[in-house]
Symmetry: C2
Subunit: 335 residues, 2 copies
């Protein structure tokens, strides 16, 4: 392995010329270009990115912060980010917030010290204010929020249209013949769960289903209690369709309903949200809304790389449209 010095020595050219060739400067003749590239090949030249970073101020590293890497949704997003960014010659460095604002700040500090060129972040549940934004602006480090976004102005963000997703899910249940619907909601501290609830409400109203707050509940994650609640809703209130805020909860609900002796989708129709791969392994397979995690990662990656070249602080809001995926848990068998 060798550096530009070695190439200079071998070719008899100056360091500057070598550097120019390797950075595709137009100010070099074709001939010397060839000579240098050949020598580079022969010597197994490997640029020292650290030195380049120090000199140029560009590290070719993007920092990524997620609440939990160990979460299929986020790891899929990271997958998307890595794929896009890897192609462009960048690397990603990863930190987890574990839903703690303190760790989030700490991660950003580390990233700044490492001279990352940009930051991609999905904020923690705790985070309501964002003290790091000023600092990053000073340092000219662009930041793009994805999925979970702060409810503030003048930022770049990539989000899913959770409202539409929930609307689509609800509409689908109704179109499949659902009469009495409920929504099992997620943590209302996160705006995306709020949006899913709103989407449910909106679809209900649009189809004149007389929406009330009684039709929305959160799980206790205590199987006895949850079973009891669902039993009552289905028996007394004739609930025949349930839109669950996420696939994991959906499978949990699915099992409860099956254990109660109801048939899915005949007695109760179910749809989740998230399109986890496990959704096709359960029986019946669950309908869901695809969050397009990889796409989100790719768009976020694209956005941050764009921001590196334009130094105007533009406001960007990329909204991805979710996709309805119909499987057994909500499909009315046609005959």
């Amino acid at each position: 392995m060798s550096g530009i010095k070695d190439i200079a020595k071998k070719t008899g050219l100056s360091l500057a010329t070598i550097s120019r060739v390797l950075n595709n400067s137009p100010l070099v003749s074709e001939k010397t270009k060839r000579i240098v590239l050949n020598a580079a090949q022969a010597l197994d030249y490997q640029p020292n990115l650290t030195a380049a970073a120090l000199r140029s101020g560009k590290s070719k590293i993007i920092g990524v912060i997620v609440p939990e890497i160990n979460n299929p949704f986020f790891s899929s997003i990271i997958n998307g980010i890595e794929q896009y960014i890897g192609k462009k010659g960048y690397s990603i460095i990863i930190a987890q917030s574990h839903e703690s604002q303190k760790k989030e700040l700490h991660a950003i500090q580390s990233f700044v010290k490492l001279n990352v060129d940009g930051i991609l972040i999905s904020i923690s549940k705790e985070s309501t204010n964002f003290p790091f934004l000023d600092k990053l602006e000073q340092e000219k480090i662009p930041i793009v929020f994805f999925d979970r976004n702060p409810q503030i102005d003048n930022i770049k963000e990539v989000v899913l249209d959770d409202f539409s997703g929930a609307y689509m899910a609800t509409e689908h249940l109704i179109q499949q013949g659902g009469n009495t619907l409920i929504h099992i909601a997620g943590n209302q501290n996160l705006s995306l769960y709020k949006d899913r609830k709103k989407g449910f409400q909106s679809a209900m109203e649009h189809y004149q289903r007389n929406f009330t707050e009684n039709q929305v509940l959160e799980l206790r994650k205590n199987i006895t209690q949850d079973t009891q609640v669902l039993q009552e809703l289905i028996k007394k209130n004739n609930v025949d369709s349930i839109f669950v805020n996420g696939d994991e909860d959906c499978i949990y609900v699915l099992n409860i309903i099956k254990s109660l002796g109801y048939k899915i989708p005949t007695d109760v129709k179910l749809i989740g949200f998230g399109n986890l791969s496990i959704g096709v392994l359960v029986q019946p397979s669950i309908s869901t809304i695809d969050q397009r995690a990889e796409d989100m990662g790719m768009v976020a990656a694209k956005t941050i790389l764009q921001s590196l070249n334009e130094n105007q602080p533009i406001t960007i809001k990329e909204v991805l449209s979710p996709k309805l995926i119909v499987r057994e848990s909500s499909r009315v068998i046609s005959n």
Copy 2:
């Protein structure tokens, strides 16, 4: 934000002294130490890790390569790595091989250019030779293999005792009253799946269950065919216990068996491998072998950090013991 120059200017001390204080050199008086640290605080000093890396040759970055980050096992390992390494002031940079040896090599190249201090890798299924080992040794970059390991000598590796895990699983099925057992195997190109098969075989032999290759099969992932095969095995051969190579496949098998009308665990007992979180969401919940993914990540992280300080190329093999997790799919209801 400021650097050591700013502190030097403010305190009137030399750059060298500032650097010494910040690196906890013993060669400074307590008094100046205080002065410097106070100034650092006041000026919001942030070390430029790029510059430090260039000068010292230590980047405080560890490169991690996994086949797919979007895989709960690997993302859990990364979680473990990140937790351990983050505490020690290191960062992790991540690349995926997508099971391609070419991408694996490419990732290593990138890591070398970035001057990572060490590499953690779980090799791709394709990889049978490891041309990068020489280069890394030249560059004095330590490498630690985890989970999937090359079958060669003189390396550092952290693996699960897959043999024992499979043995435990099989033994458990027998102890629960299993008479006729089969094993649904994984891709035999990976040594860990081979080990799981061997563990099954060993337990079978130990309990005089007359092991033959007929008791091992791989799924076709075609639901019609797989259903047919399982149906026959249960009906004709009286199979009453199945050890499946992984939890995802286990859930797949579970659904097939339920759809055939058999009761689990009464008619057929099941156990998987991997302890995916989804295992408790299906019904019945599946017994499994915990792979201790986070522990593996932490041990791998610990191992690589140790290697940074000792420059002797020591051979290390850390073997983690799996844990049996008994849930409904294999538990004989006591009465």
